[in-house]
Symmetry: C2
Subunit: 236 residues, 2 copies
Amino acid sequence: MTGPTTSADRRGKGTVVDAIVQALADDIISGNLTPGTKLDAQTMAERFGVSRTPIRETFGHLAAMGLLTHRPNRGVIVATVSSDDLSDLYEAMAELEAALARLAALRMNSDQRQTLLELHQDSVHLVRDGTADEYARYNQRFHALIFEGAHSSQLQQLAEATRHRLSPFRRAQFRLSNRVSKSWEEHDAIVRAILAGDADGVARLMRLHVQTVSAMSAEFVAEHQQATGAKRKANT
Amino acid sequence: MTGPTTSADRRGKGTVVDAIVQALADDIISGNLTPGTKLDAQTMAERFGVSRTPIRETFGHLAAMGLLTHRPNRGVIVATVSSDDLSDLYEAMAELEAALARLAALRMNSDQRQTLLELHQDSVHLVRDGTADEYARYNQRFHALIFEGAHSSQLQQLAEATRHRLSPFRRAQFRLSNRVSKSWEEHDAIVRAILAGDADGVARLMRLHVQTVSAMSAEFVAEHQQATGAKRKANT
DNA sequence: GATGATTTGTACGTATGTATA
DNA sequence: ATATACATACGTACAAATCAT
């Protein structure tokens, strides 16, 4: 009996592939899977109790997200992000966010300005009393509001994709010394510029803000280099 | 025997999926497949002499590239680019090119500046004597040189991907009235600003340049709507 | 290097869900 | 509202490429 009935309980929910994409993305982003590790479909299939077909599809999605690198006929490996790649990605992020902030200064409606201001002001207590996670959540919303305020969905999509790729590296920066209070001050200047409609000013401020994050990330990665293992030149 | 002989000639190259992705992307970009056309895996499988599995994967890649739209349980269709989407894409293009031009003004080395200047000056005769195709080729190289001069590979990749998506719409704009001479003048100002190292100035000029192209494209598309659009009823 | 083992890539079948007649 | 047709999602089978010996 080739019973394709598949023992997998069909949990009336979303697809198996999506669930595995999430799980593997988490593993990679959390650093649980170090860059360069080879993933083979067979093992993953067993680990998740499915066949190789959905695993292959999963690999495709993750490769499209830049988390895996696909080598024809040779399987996939966890993508290696060199420190050059990293600063390059941050530079793209800085320019994208600067462009979005500029547009936001020109286009945000009054509701959006109000919401941004409230979010930012309400967060002031996090600087002293909040956890790194709480601040990270506020930070996420802050940038998301600006993205939306730009009313430029293509640019927004590019920025979100880039932000997503960087998330593993941005993760822990708020644990650094007094990064939180500096970050909040930078946000403060950005909010003021947006409310004042100062398009060029806010672009400059946002670019600097992201560059600062980039430097913090690089510092953090350098400190934790032995853990990530990407210290060697690797390929390219 | 169900003849798994796989008639497909294995052209010692990469994977079948990659080849089909290329082929279909070309068909879509060249306008050979009109937006809204439904593609079903079965037919494509027959057309390319493969089974549905690689076709499925191909659809996934093309959807990720924005060339196909995936409607849950209703198959995929060639992505329809509404005129809103179009101006959105152009806006993203404008911001990306502006950012790259800004960086190019700051970072181009003297060889690159020299090459850009020569290309641009040598092209002056195309304004009066060249064909639209010749000018388009020069135009392509002009922008490519600026991309390279920015030394920012991630941003460059994003810009190239966006440029690629827009290519079907940018295609014929140089046939419009005196678009060529206006375009050349805009390029001229851009070259001067880059050579002068005027980062903010060139960003502004480039943004305006792409916005102009956007307006031309919209005009052209509006004029030719009957040709690209409803000529074939297709299946909807 | 050749050869067998491992693993990727592709073919194809079928159960289940979703839309449409 | 029911039936039919179709798309999706996943399984298994086998061919071809890579790798380890």
